[in-house]
Structure formats: C-alpha cells, structure tokens
C-alpha cells in the first residue's frame, strides 16, 4: 500500500501519467490544477506496485509515491 499524492501547484495536466502507470491507477477527473487544466485523480492506490515510473515520467515533479 503506497501513498500517492499529486501536487496541484506543480501539475500542468499533460496526462503522461495516465499512460505511464502499468496498473492504470491515474484516471481523468474534473479537478482543476493551479495551471487551469484538468488534473488526474488517483483510483485504487492499494494496487500500486511501487515501480515509480510516474515519478520519473512526470515532467513537473508533481507526483510523489511513498512506499
């Protein structure tokens, strides 16, 4: 079980994380980030395997995974 947080101030809504996660934990939502675009939401964080691909592929360092 890992704690996944997405920073509203950093996210720009590029949706790379949606495709990067092998377990498809990130889903589209209607929440807005500070940049003004739609940011992803976290669904079923308990299925996370902790590969940290989302951290590496997020261009703005918005995602933090705590194992």
């Amino acid at each position: 079980m890992s704690q996944i947080t997405i920073d509203k101030a950093c996210c720009k809504g590029c949706n790379i994380c949606l495709n990067a996660c092998p377990k498809k934990i990130f889903v589209k939502s209607k929440k807005r980030n500070n940049y003004g675009t739609a940011m992803p939401d976290v669904k079923d964080p308990e299925t996370c395997v902790g590969c940290r691909m989302c951290e590496r592929l997020c261009p703005d360092g918005a995602i933090d995974v705590e194992a």
Binding site: N19, P59, D60, G61
Partner: protein, 277 residues
C-alpha cells in the same frame, strides 16, 4: 511535490516555463536522479545555451551558467580548463548544439575534453515558434518548410563519433531509467561523453513531425520507432555506429572507448615534457 525534486529544484521559481507534456522535465528529473546516485552535488557545474532545453539547469540549486546561443560548449571548455576538478554537464538543444554551436561541438569532440553533453533533440526550434532545425526529418512540415523538409537530417551521434568522442549514447524520454544510467556513466567517464535524448515538443512539432499530438502517444511512438542496440562494451571502441534497422533508430550505448586520451591529460603531459611543470 516529489521529495527528490524538492531537494534539487528552486521551488520559488516554479512552475517551470515548459509547456504541458514537454520532455525537458523528464530529462531534468533523470539528471537529478543521476546526481543523487553519484552523490557529487558539490562538484557539479551546469552550463547551457539558449533554447527551451537550455532552461533545464536554470531551476537547479547547483552552480549554473546560462550563456550565449550555441556557445555553451565553448564556455564549458573554458570552465573545465580553469577548474579541472569540476564535473561539467552541458544541457543543450538540437538547434543550439548542431546548428549554431556546431563548430564548438566539432572541436570539443575532436579534443576529447572531459565534458558531459546532454543534447535534447526534439527535431525543431521550439522556443522561437517551430522553425526547421538541422535534425528535422525529411518531408516534415514546419513553419519554414511548409511544403515538406528537403534537407537530409544530421545524425549528431554519428558526427561526434567520427571526430573522436569517447562515450556516445542515445536514449529517449520514454526510457527514463536507462537515461539516468547513461547520464551517470557519462559523468563518471573521463573524456567527451555525448548523450542524445530524443524528446517531444507537442506544441510546435506535434502532428507535423511525429504524427501525434498527445505527449504520451509521441512517447509510445518513440518506443515503437527505436530498437536497443546491444553491443559488447569492449567491442564498441573501433566499430562503426549501428544503422537504421527497418527504419528504426538505434538507441543505447553506441560508442565507448575508455582508452582514448583526454585533452587535459595531454596538456599536462606536454607541459611536463617541456619542463614548464
């Protein structure tokens, strides 16, 4: 915010000026990971020129020099000669490195001076509005080639290898773990190490150059359009660079020659032989 990102980035200057989905952020994080793994934060000095990709080191809490267009490698060479103990990392783009700074790249590679050059190749001049760059593929439509590009693109890895660079690698933004390893290897390597990173510019290049507009789809395209070249590290020294295979671009460690003599060592040897030192 990511913990490692927070440790190395000036949080007061966030958000970065990169567009959503830009590959520069991925390279920024990969370089941070490499610095963290090597644990040489105090020894790193970053140099960059002008362009979107040259903004990468400007957000680091490290020694950074933001210099003239195309002259990043020239400044880095001077810095290396003045402070030989620093590990110098140059962040540059395809236009900055191959077009405007082409001459400096040629001579730095021929000297085999101990620098790590990370060339972010997005196939276009992104910052100035999407003009054709020397690496733009044939038939790509850009602002300055509206009927399709007719020039042959420059293969920068092949160029620096032919001149004598001793560590040449190519990765893409879709391979962040391998990219981080390549950067760490390049910093540890004594000699000119050149790392080309195929990146994406969804805003300016997008559909016309990659055929896709979504950043994640462009990255998938990179995964499909490349193959990992697996040559033995010992045999890479004298061999020629791998060619395109079924139109796929070779990525990985393409050339490695640990025996090549480094410029500063040659300078020291010459000074000793002449009795100056």
């Amino acid at each position: 915010m990511n913990k490692l990102y927070e440790k190395y980035i000036k949080t007061e200057s966030l958000p970065t000026l990169f567009c959503p989905g830009c590959g520069n952020g991925i390279i920024q994080y990969a370089a941070i990971e490499a610095f963290e793994r090597l644990g040489i934060r105090e020894d790193i000095a970053c140099v960059s020129g002008i362009g979107c990709s040259s903004w990468i080191p400007c957000y680091y809490k490290l020694d950074v020099m933001h210099t003239m267009h195309g002259r990043a490698i020239a400044f880095a060479e001077g810095l290396k000669l003045a402070q030989p103990n620093k590990k110098i990392v140059v962040f540059t783009g395809d236009g900055d490195c191959v077009a405007i700074g082409g001459n400096h790249l040629l001579h730095a590679a021929a000297r085999n001076i101990d620098l790590t050059v990370i060339m972010v190749n997005n196939y276009i001049y992104g910052m100035t509005g999407g003009q054709k760059s020397p690496t733009t593929p044939k038939e790509a439509r850009t602002k300055t080639s509206p009927f399709g590009c007719i020039d042959e693109p420059i293969d920068s890895c092949r160029l620096v290898t032919s001149l004598g660079a001793s560590h040449v690698a190519r990765w893409t933004t879709a391979h962040p773990i391998q990219l981080e390893k390549a950067i760490a290897e390049g910093i540890s390597h004594k000699g000119f190490s050149f790392i080309e990173v195929l990146s994406q510019c969804p805003v300016q290049a997008g559909k016309n150059v990659y055929g896709e507009k979504e950043p994640s789809k462009i990255m998938d395209g990179y995964k499909k359009g490349t193959y990992v070249y697996k040559g033995e590290k010992e045999q890479l020294a004298g061999s020629s660079l791998p060619d395109l295979k079924d139109g796929k671009i070779p990525i990985g460690l393409l050339h490695y020659d640990p025996e090549a003599s480094e410029y500063l060592e040659r300078v020291e040897a010459k000074l000793k032989a002449e009795g100056v030192r």
